[in-house]
C-alpha cells in the first residue's frame, strides 16, 4: 500500500482530474463485467495498460509486477473452478474420473469458462489498479467529499487512512527495536515477539487515538473534518473519449 500511494503521488496523472480518472476506471470496470466477452476483457486490459504506462508514466515494470502479483492470487483461486462435476461424463471431457455418484473432471467448455473468468477478473483488477497508481488516496477522499458522500463515512475513511500509516510506522519501528534485541533470532522467539508486538500495537493504537482526540479538541475540531482542497486538476478528456469508444465497441462486438 505504501508503494501504491508513492507511485500515485509521483505519477504524471496526479495533476489530472480525479473525477475523470474515477469515471474512466469504474466505467471500464462495468463494461468489462457487463459485456462479459473475451475480446472486451483483453481490449480493456490493453487500454488500461496503455494509459497507465504511456499517459500516466508509471513504469511498465512496476505495472506488470503489480498485475502479476494479483493475477497469481486470482489464478490460484480459480484452481477449484477447473473441475466440473456432472452426473455422467460429458461429451467435451478432456480428463476425468468417474466417482460415485457421478463424474469429476476437466471439460473443454469448463476451460473456456475459466479462461473467460480469468481474463475478466484480470481486466477488472487492472481498472482498479489504474486508479490506485494514478490517484492518491487524498484526492479520492476529497472527491467523495465534493460529491456529498456521508460525512461519517468520509471521516472514517480519512482517519483509517491516516491511522494505517501511523500504525505502520509504529509497527516498523517496534519491529526494528525487537530485531536489534534479537527478537527474531529463532522461530520460537520470533513467534513470541510477534505476539508481543501485536498486543503492544493494540495498546498503542488506543493511546494514539486518545492523543489524536486531544489535539483535535485543542484545535477546535467539531463533529467532522472540514473540507479543504486547493489543488486544481486538468481535465482528462482522453480518458472519457476512450471510455465512450470502448462502450460503443463492446456493444458492437
Amino acid at each position: 500500500m505504501n508503494v501504491l500511494d508513492r507511485i500515485a503521488n509521483q505519477s504524471r496523472a496526479v495533476g489530472y482530474s480525479p473525477a475523470h480518472k474515477v469515471l474512466f476506471a469504474l466505467g471500464l470496470l462495468f463494461v468489462v463485467i457487463g459485456f462479459d466477452k473475451i475480446p472486451v476483457s483483453i481490449a480493456a486490459f490493453l487500454i488500461v495498460t496503455l494509459f497507465t504506462v504511456g499517459w500516466a508514466r508509471v513504469s511498465a515494470a512496476t505495472w506488470f509486477k503489480i498485475m502479476l502479483a494479483q493475477s497469481t492470487f486470482l489464478g490460484l483461486s480459480l484452481i477449484a473452478l477447473l473441475f466440473t462435476t456432472t452426473a455422467s461424463q460429458p461429451a467435451d471431457a478432456l480428463w476425468g474420473v468417474a466417482m460415485w455418484p457421478g463424474w469429476v473432471g476437466v471439460t473443454e467448455s469448463g476451460l473456456w469458462f475459466l479462461g473467460e473468468l480469468f481474463l475478466r477478473s484480470v481486466a477488472a483488477v487492472a481498472c482498479l489498479n489504474f486508479l490506485a497508481v494514478t490517484t492518491p488516496m487524498h484526492d479520492l477522499i476529497r472527491l467523495a467529499q465534493r460529491y456529498k458522500a456521508p460525512e461519517l463515512l468520509i471521516d472514517l475513511i480519512l482517519l483509517t487512512y491516516r491511522f494505517i500509516w501511523s500504525l505502520y510506522e509504529t509497527l516498523q519501528s517496534m519491529r526494528t527495536a525487537q530485531q536489534s534485541r534479537l527478537g527474531y533470532s529463532s522461530f520460537k522467539v520470533g513467534l513470541r515477539s510477534a505476539a508481543q508486538l501485536g498486543a503492544r500495537l493494540f495498546i498503542r493504537t488506543y493511546q494514539r487515538m486518545d492523543a489524536l482526540n486531544t489535539s483535535w479538541e485543542a484545535r477546535l475540531g467539531g463533529t467532522s473534518m472540514p473540507i479543504w482542497h486547493t489543488r486544481t486538476h486538468q481535465a482528462a478528456y482522453s480518458l472519457l473519449v476512450t471510455l465512450a469508444g470502448m462502450i460503443v465497441l463492446a456493444a458492437l462486438i
Partner: protein, 264 residues
C-alpha cells in the same frame, strides 16, 4: 493574560498531578516551563486551554474566570494554542495543507482567509514546498513544523509548545525560535516546555520550575538558575553560560553563548 489561582488537579485514579498552582502568564513574554520527568508539566499544559479541568482552583483569561461550557472552551482554545510533544499524534489530515487548514476552518473563516493564513505560516516555517505532501511522507522534523504551523494558523494569543525543538536540527531550531521571538514582539506569549536548561536560560524572559506538581520558582532565568537549592532539588547542573559567567565574575551574567564570547 492567563492566570492560575490555586489550581489542583487529580487524575481519575487519584494521583495528584498538580498542587496549588499559582501562576501569572503575562502578554508579550517568552516563558520556559522546566521540571524533572513526571513533575506535571504536560498536565499543566493541558490545563491552559481547558483540555483538562482543574479539580479545584480557577483559571482566568484576561481577568475572566474560564467558563468550561462548550462555548467558553471554544473561546479559550482559540486564544491558547497547544503544540504537543508528539507531532505524529496531532496531524490527522491527509496532506500538510489540509492539516494546517483544520484549525482556521473550525474557526469558520472563509476560504480566502484560510488560504492566506496557510501561506503565511508555511512561509514562516519554511514548509511551502511540503504543502501538497501527504503527512506520512514527512520526516520527524517536518512533522513538528507542520504541527506548529497548524496551531499558529489559528492566531492564538498564547502558544504553549511541548518540547518543540527536540526533533529539529540547529538551523531550524533557530528559525523556529526567531519565529517565536517575532510573535512575542507582536504582543503574544510563547511558552516552551523543555528539558534543555541551556536553551531555557538563553531564550526565556521568565522560567517556571515545576517539581512534584508544585511551582517551585517563577522568575528571571538568571535568578532561578542561580538558586542552588532549586538545582539540587531537581538534580540539575547550572546552565553553562551562567556557570562560566559566574566563575568569571561577570555582572550581569552573560545571557547567551554569543554574549558570553563577546565579553571574554
Amino acid at each position: 493574560m492567563l492566570q492560575l489561582d490555586n489550581i489542583t488537579f487529580d487524575y481519575p485514579d487519584g494521583t495528584t498531578a498538580l498542587r496549588n498552582i499559582n501562576l501569572t502568564l503575562d502578554a508579550g513574554k517568552k516563558i520556559a516551563i522546566v521540571g524533572p520527568n513526571g513533575s506535571g508539566k504536560s498536565t499543566l499544559m493541558r490545563q491552559l486551554n481547558g483540555i483538562l479541568q482543574p479539580t479545584s482552583g480557577t483559571l482566568s483569561y484576561k481577568g475572566q474566570a474560564v467558563d468550561y461550557s462548550r462555548k467558553g472552551l471554544q473561546a479559550l482554545r482559540q486564544s491558547v494554542g497547544l503544540v504537543f510533544q508528539s507531532a505524529e499524534d496531532q496531524l490527522f489530515a491527509t496532506t500538510v495543507e489540509e492539516d494546517i487548514a483544520f484549525g482556521p476552518l473550525n474557526l469558520g473563516l472563509d476560504r480566502a482567509d484560510v488560504k492566506a493564513r496557510i501561506a503565511t505560516v508555511a512561509d514562516a516555517l519554511g514548509i511551502e514546498a511540503l504543502l501538497a505532501r501527504p503527512i506520512h511522507a514527512l520526516s520527524g522534523g517536518q512533522k513538528m513544523r507542520v504541527a506548529i504551523a497548524g496551531v499558529l494558523a489559528m492566531h492564538p494569543q498564547l502558544i504553549v509548545a511541548d518540547e518543540p525543538l527536540a526533533s529539529l536540527d540547529m538551523a531550524i531550531q533557530q528559525q523556529v525560535l526567531n519565529l517565536f521571538d517575532a510573535l512575542v514582539q507582536d504582543g503574544r506569549t510563547v511558552i516552551i516546555v523543555t528539558h534543555d536548561l541551556d536553551q531555557a536560560y538563553a531564550w526565556a524572559d521568565e522560567v517556571i520550575v515545576l517539581a512534584d506538581g508544585e511551582v517551585q520558582q517563577q522568575g528571571a532565568p538568571e535568578a532561578v538558575f542561580a538558586d542552588q537549592a532549586i538545582l539540587d532539588l531537581c538534580g540539575w547542573e547550572k546552565p553553562w553560560v551562567l556557570a562560566v559567567s559566574q566563575q568569571m565574575g561577570l555582572t550581569p551574567a552573560a545571557k547567551s553563548r554569543a554574549d558570553l564570547l563577546a565579553r571574554l
